[in-house]
Subunit: 340 residues, 2 copies
DNA sequence: ACCAAAATTTTACGCGCGGAAACTTTTTAA
DNA sequence: TTAAAAAGTTTCCGCGCGTAAAATTTTGGT
């Protein structure tokens, strides 16, 4: 009992089972007979041995490492979806490692670069988008099974799963038109994320379908400080011409949070009530949008569905399944709150 | 030139340098002569070889892995500080891996458990706090050099670096008393984080020093959904007795965000201006507190100083330095905005 | 009880690198 | 110039495990 278990051989001796069988067990507990598995697991509790992960991965053709890459962890949206993805990887018996590109192209490249040496079994990545080094991601995805989520890059990876951003526009434009003035669209001039373009297109199409003239208000600003951009841009618009409509649909919740802040600074009451001067809506159902003043009307992304698709597609592929859909889009739901 | 470089031996041949010297170079580029280093680095560019990380770590007594553990990544405060810590690790030539306990004791334990097999050179951890399995963290810290940050656990790890939460109270209570009614203190009944206790104590001490009677308002709620707790708690207090003062100091910014939301729902104007009914202040300088309505007056934590202390203390110790201070506290700064 | 199939054991080799020992070459300093 | 120190080379072993092949044992169905 007091034997020092230093490696698999020691453990094999102590448990009375041959080392290759122990090895098989750790690769796949179901690969050994029930009675054997029970004996191993019993011994495991007695000696609390665990195989050396480096020695394992050195020889294995396929590790069980999964790289999870998101563009920014400072954004609670990605923090939340990353948490979801991580959980699912662990439940599937894989070992996820989380990386954030911090909105930076070079960092995204570096992450993939250092990921190479981890010999990952797969990669789940929400690319930066416009700024991504697409050639590099494509090259990587040809060596390592890769599933994209959130942000679409054409012809890269096994599959892509994300929100139907085009539909978002239809959904919320319908609602806004039904309940008040048709909205104008508030966005960044050069959005880093391709979803923003789909959202604009969705807005325009929805407006035209309802016989209204779409009106897009673009504000300048670079990077991922969306609240800041929304606030400064909002102040500028308010202080000059003002918005072309008393209803503003923001390209995403974080811009909306900034815009609400700008309206407050200019004492413009936000909301759908009589005494309000402007209605503001966003898209994403950002974790904080329930706590803005007033709470933000928005379109919720289906976190669960997106992370489920990413993980299940990847692991399905690893286990030999065929990829059925290259692109899977999930619908959003209208979240009605007081801001619009 | 078209030689396939499959391992260090191939690379040694191709570069005309012996394998042990190459090995030394990768362990510490400064351990080889300048001329040799240049030759290696030149060959490195030609062949883009990189050593097998698993084989390296299998044999090295000390890996260059650093575990970085935070209690929650959904909280932008931790996301931000984690980003800071990660960057410093990389700059120091180490390889950080980020983990979030997601506010969950079991997950924190699991993380440390799986971290064992990575043979990390060190651990940088912001513990959950009250919920942490202290015995486990202590045991871990005896095997792996560990530096705590943000949340203090007595007698664990090489050192602790965090904010002087006691001072926070003094700083903001002074300000609030100078500019209006002495504040009451708004907090969770059973805060998960020990910092909350220090903050309450700081508040009480500061109030007494100024000759005011401290008044603490505790609201119920479990977990890490502070905004939700602040909002629901705030609504309850408002709808019953109301706050004992027209100035409310919240234990942290996220509670304050929830409380501001509650005030808005009850149409209570927040701010320091004539027409406002309540002043609200927080503590943390949360990334979003600049965008609340009105922007939140708060105490900023010194992210840079905290992450710098954690990283430099750990790496200093790894390189043989003595630990000078077991506990290092950093002062906060008053951030004056419109809410108070 | 018998036999084929499945599981396990035995034996042996290799992965890519760290690191020690003994030796040779280059650099540094007097 | 010269000897000592430093750096590099050669040679070798070991880390802990994956994995293949052949021999052996166990299993399940008849």
């Amino acid at each position: 009992m007091e034997t020092k278990i230093r490696n698999m051989e020691d453990f094999a001796k102590a448990s009375g089972i041959s080392r290759p069988t122990i090895s098989k067990y750790f690769n796949d507990p179901n690969a050994v007979r029930n009675t054997t598995r029970e004996r191993i697991e019993q011994a495991l509790e007695t000696y609390d041995y665990r195989p050396n992960i480096f020695a394992m991965n050195q020889n294995r053709k396929l590790t069980r490492n999964i790289g999870v890459v998101v563009p920014s962890l400072a954004d609670p949206f990605f923090a939340e979806i990353a948490r979801n993805v991580e959980r699912r990887c662990i439940d599937a018996g894989y070992q996820p490692t989380l990386y954030s590109a911090h909105g930076n192209r070079d960092q995204e490249v570096e992450i993939l670069d250092s990921l190479r040496s981890l010999k990952p079994a797969g990669l789940l990545i929400a690319p930066l988008g416009r700024n991504s080094d697409k050639a590099m991601i494509e090259k990587f995805s040809q060596k390592v099974p890769t599933v994209l989520f959130d942000s679409y890059l054409p012809d890269i990876g096994l599959s892509f799963g994300g929100s139907d951003n085009f539909q978002f526009g239809r959904l919320i434009v319908d609602y806004l038109c039904r309940t008040g003035t048709p909205p104008c669209f508030f966005e960044m001039q050069n959005p880093a994320n391709p979803n923003a373009n789909k959202r604009r297109q969705g807005y325009i199409a929805a407006m035209e379908a309802l016989g209204h003239a779409p009106q897009v208000v673009s504000v300048t600003g670079e990077g991922w400080n969306f609240e800041e951009i929304g606030r400064n841009g909002g102040l500028e618009v308010i202080d000059s011409d003002g918005f072309p409509s008393d209803t503003v649909l923001c390209s995403n919740d974080r811009l909306a949070i900034g815009l609400i802040s700008a309206c407050f600074a200019r004492k413009i009451p936000v909301g759908f009530e009589e005494d309000s001067a402007i209605r503001i809506a966003g898209m994403d159902d950002h974790p904080f949008s329930r706590f803005t003043c007033p709470p933000l009307t928005t379109i919720s992304q289906d976190y669960e569905a997106i992370s489920k698709h990413a993980v299940e597609t990847l692991f399905g592929n690893l286990e030999g399944d065929e990829i059925t859909d290259k692109v899977v889009l999930f619908e959003g739901n209208l979240i009605m709150r007081k801001s619009a």
